[in-house]
């Protein structure tokens, strides 16, 4: 178990060695203890401010504080690497405590702080190295700092993404690719934080503490924008969920069917290696796959009767009323189509999302609608895995159900 080994090493290392090593590094550096104390305090305070991200990775203003240090801690013309790493070590030790107070789980707090520490250190090392090697040839208008900064930042981002997706993929039992792709969505937040730190570091010498408002004001604009985006995203999902439940409260569908179908469909979509965007489409399509049922209240429909295809068509027409959901509407339109007909190949124009929704909905109908047990419902779906249902999706369903219950 390499993960367990990693976290054990992180726990022992940070608990005992980190403060010692940090103090030793600081003692061997040019950095004064007051400077180091202020920097550690900034790292801890920064961890209290968290911009909204999409991936679930915890990014805080500590990143900005860490990014500023190599600019500020200088020994003559060079970065005081030993001082910077010393502050990182002691700051990370305190971050463990902050994280522990927040999450209550010691192991993940250690893993988190350790992961952050590795990122900070890589950044500082690359920054100092590039600055030593090419810094002098770039003049003194600021590029001699910007180029090493960008190099260090790129290395940092690569390490951060890699470590985070490995850790989170293990924690959430998700494919690493999916986690990494969702991590990429937060790069704007990450880069803004790093740039803010760099800005502060660059301005501290000429401006003194005026550098703080100058660096933080542009950032606060970004912070607000991230928050608004995330809030709207939540609202959007809440609205779709609410609308999807209208047929249920009208008594035209099983209560909770759309929520359960969506939870199962999302789990399958992630398991099948779909991208975060596709997973979101699957979620919306699964939530709204039966929105067409609302039409069953219509007197003319009651008179004339309807088919499954009618329901899918009505549903997709309603969803298509929202231009941004046209792909979701397409998935809903094809949700009843069989995987393939006898003697034919499967139709490639039917999306994976539509096939996933079909199976998730059928499973829930068997379980809740017909009262079958989990095994009976699976058996039923397996019997249709030649023509009716996509066998790959059925296999994924079995994998998910065997791994444990799916929460709506």
């Amino acid at each position: 178990m390499p993960r367990k080994l990693f976290s054990t090493i992180a726990v022992v290392g940070l608990l005992v060695a980190a403060p010692l090593a940090g103090t030793w590094a600081l003692a061997n550096s040019q950095t004064s203890m007051i400077q180091a104390g202020v920097a550690v305090a900034a790292m801890v305070l920064g961890s209290l401010i968290t911009p909204s991200g999409q991936s679930g990775n915890r990014l805080t203003l500590t990143i900005a504080a860490a990014a500023a240090l190599p600019f500020i801690f200088l020994a003559g013309d060079r970065v005081d690497v030993s001082g910077v790493i010393g502050v990182y070590l002691i700051g990370s030790e305190l971050l463990v405590l902050v994280e522990y107070a927040r999450s209550g789980v010691l192991a993940t707090s250690f893993a988190y702080a350790g992961r952050q520490f590795v990122g900070y250190s890589i950044f500082t090392l690359v920054f100092a190295l590039v600055r030593d090697v090419v810094g002098r040839s770039l003049g003194s208008s600021g590029w001699e700092i910007l180029v090493p900064f960008v190099a260090g930042g790129v290395a940092w981002i690569a390490v951060e993404l890699l470590l985070w997706s490995l850790a989170a993929a293990g924690d959430f039992r998700l494919p690493t690719r999916y986690v990494a792709l969702s991590g990429v969505k937060d790069l704007n937040v990450f880069i803004s934080l790093v740039a803010t730190g760099g800005l502060f570091g660059l301005m501290l010498e000429p401006l003194g503490w005026w550098a703080l408002p100058v660096a933080l004001l542009p950032y606060s604009f970004a912070h607000g924008a991230f928050r608004r985006f995330q809030e709207t995203k939540t609202t959007y999902r809440q609205t779709i969920r609410a609308l999807a439940q209208i047929p249920e409260v009208a008594g035209l569908n099983l209560t909770g069917h759309s929520d359960r179908t969506a939870a199962l469909a999302v789990a399958m979509a992630k398991d099948l290696g779909l991208t975060p965007e596709e997973v979101e489409e699957v979620e919306f399509a699964a939530l709204m796959h039966d929105i067409g049922h609302i039409t069953l209240n219509d007197p003319t429909v009651i008179e004339q009767g309807w088919t499954d295809d009618d329901l899918a068509r009505w549903g997709s027409e309603i969803i298509a009323g929202a231009p941004s959901l046209d792909r979701v509407a397409a998935h809903v339109r094809r949700q009843y189509e069989p995987f393939r007909n006898p003697g034919e190949e499967s139709d490639p124009s039917v999306s994976k999302a539509a096939r996933i929704v079909k199976i998730a909905s059928a499973y829930d109908s068997h379980r809740v609608g017909s009262g079958m047990s989990q095994l009976e419902a699976l058996e039923e779906l397996h019997q249709g895995a030649a023509y009716e249902y996509d066998p790959e999706v059925v296999t994924s369903l079995r994998r998910i159900l065997e791994a444990g219950p799916v929460n709506a």
């Binding site: 542009p218 609205t239 008594g251 429909v301 231009p323």
Partner: protein, 436 residues
């Protein structure tokens, strides 16, 4: 040529001429800014102007202004250049929007060009006067920032005056919609000026181009987020609107009802001088006020004639269950509490729990119902509808709301209900059906 076009040409020509005169005069009289530095700032300005986003109802926010004032402060402090020319030349690039070119609009970009150049010149001259020759130290940062805020105020004020004049001249008395929320916008304009001044001064002190690159990175990402936020917000609202439309399209008799109720409520709100946020909330309340209807069993919807008390009760229960779901959405909760009283039990009506906004929605809703042809009766002329609303004993329809509706419709000159309206209503329905 139409008189409107002639008036447009006059204004565009006058404004553009003013702008050109400013540019030429500045070019001849003052020092040009260093080209590379100016180009970096100008490109940032254009990018930000292009990506101006709607952050609130009809309110556009662009951080272009901040960059404009960063440039202003920077070039005013520098001894080798003038803020006025740098800002005017930058502002000249602002109105070039691809949207306008695609739609072949000429009036607005040309008039905007003139108005922005003139405003930028005035703001720039102010900065030059306040800041040139300043030996900058950290003690003076606040002073530069305040000068930036002042210049921003002047720039915004000049723009508003010139746009207002142009619109009044060209269109007569029509209100200037994009600027109606000025009192909301103004603090952010001043703040951006303050920030712009501060950044310009900081940049001058640090004297490193890397600083401007880093600031622009943060701004770029903030702006990208803000514009994806605004896209998402638009998508969310479009989804709700689309849903409501698609759902109500299933009922021939109430087709277009929601949109009309929203329109009446908007008229009333404007008449009562509601703010943009209040108007937006009422609009949403109107759009969702009939969603509860969806859960009503088909046989009740189809029933001709009056419903029995039991059937009414069933209808209310169904509608309430939908409201309960919608109220779980944070965004919709306040709207549901305004709109959710729609299926109110008149015997249990509680005037103290009623609000002005709820009264507006109820009045707009009932007014549209009375002036539309329904299964069981013909449309009522609007004068009779007012009387009917006024004679309602429940207290749901506030007298000031009914009066506001009456005077708003008198102002617009529209007539609803009655025999002739039924015909035009049928026409508009036929059009809607074709569009759908």
């Amino acid at each position: 040529m139409k008189p409107l076009t002639i008036r447009q040409i006059r204004i565009a020509a006058a404004y553009a001429l003013g702008g050109l005169v400013c540019l030429v005069a500045l070019w001849l009289r003052v020092d040009a800014p260093p080209l590379i530095l100016w180009s970096i700032l100008a490109s940032a300005f254009i990018v930000l102007e292009l990506r101006a986003v709607e952050v609130n109802d009809r309110m556009l926010q662009s951080s272009g202004l901040m960059v404009l004032l960063t440039a202003g402060a920077l070039f005013a402090i520098r001894s080798d250049s003038s803020a006025a020319l740098a800002m005017a030349a930058m502002a000249a690039l602002g109105p070039i929007l691809p949207d306008g070119i695609f739609k072949r609009q000429w009036f607005q970009p040309i008039a905007n060009f003139g108005q922005m150049v003139v405003s930028a010149t005035v703001a720039g001259l102010l900065l030059d006067w306040l800041l040139s020759g300043l030996v900058l130290s950290t003690f003076l940062l606040l002073q530069v920032a305040l000068a930036g805020a002042l210049a921003s105020l002047v720039y915004t004020g000049m723009n508003v005056i010139m746009v207002g004049y142009a619109v009044r001249y060209v269109y007569g008395t029509r209100t200037v919609l994009p600027w109606s929320g000025l009192h909301v916008l103004l603090p952010s304009q001043v703040l951006m000026g303050f920030l712009g001044g501060l950044l310009g001064a900081a940049f001058h002190l640090a004297n490193k181009q890397a600083v401007i690159v880093l600031i622009l990175i943060v701004y770029l990402f903030a702006h990208l987020s803000l514009s994806s936020y605004s896209q998402l917000r638009e998508a969310h609202q479009a989804a709700l609107r689309g849903f409501v439309k698609a759902l109500e399209a299933r009922d021939l008799y109430t087709r277009g009802h929601t949109e009309r109720v929203a329109y009446f409520a908007q008229l009333i709100g404007e008449q009562l001088r509601f703010t943009g946020t209040q108007l937006e909330r009422i609009r949403w309340a109107c759009l969702i006020h009939d969603l509860g209807k969806l859960a009503i069993p088909g046989e009740l919807v189809a029933k001709r004639g009056r419903l029995t008390p039991e059937e009414f009760k069933e209808m209310r229960t169904a509608a309430r269950s939908v409201e309960a779901i919608l109220a779980e959405v944070d965004f919709l909760r306040p709207m549901v509490s305004i709109a959710g009283v729609h299926y109110i039990d008149l015997e249990k009506f509680d005037a103290s729990a009623w609000s002005l906004e709820a009264s507006i929605v109820a009045t707009a809703d009932t007014f549209d119902a009375l002036t539309s042809t329904r299964r069981y009766r013909m449309a009522m002329p609007q004068t009779e509808a007012y009387a009917e609303l006024r004679s309602d004993p429940s207290g749901r329809f506030y007298p000031e709301v009914i009066s506001a509706l009456e005077s708003a419709l008198k102002r617009t000159g529209e007539v609803y209900g009655g025999a002739q309206m039924t015909q035009s209503e049928q026409l508009s329905r036929a059009e809607e059906a074709q569009l759908a």
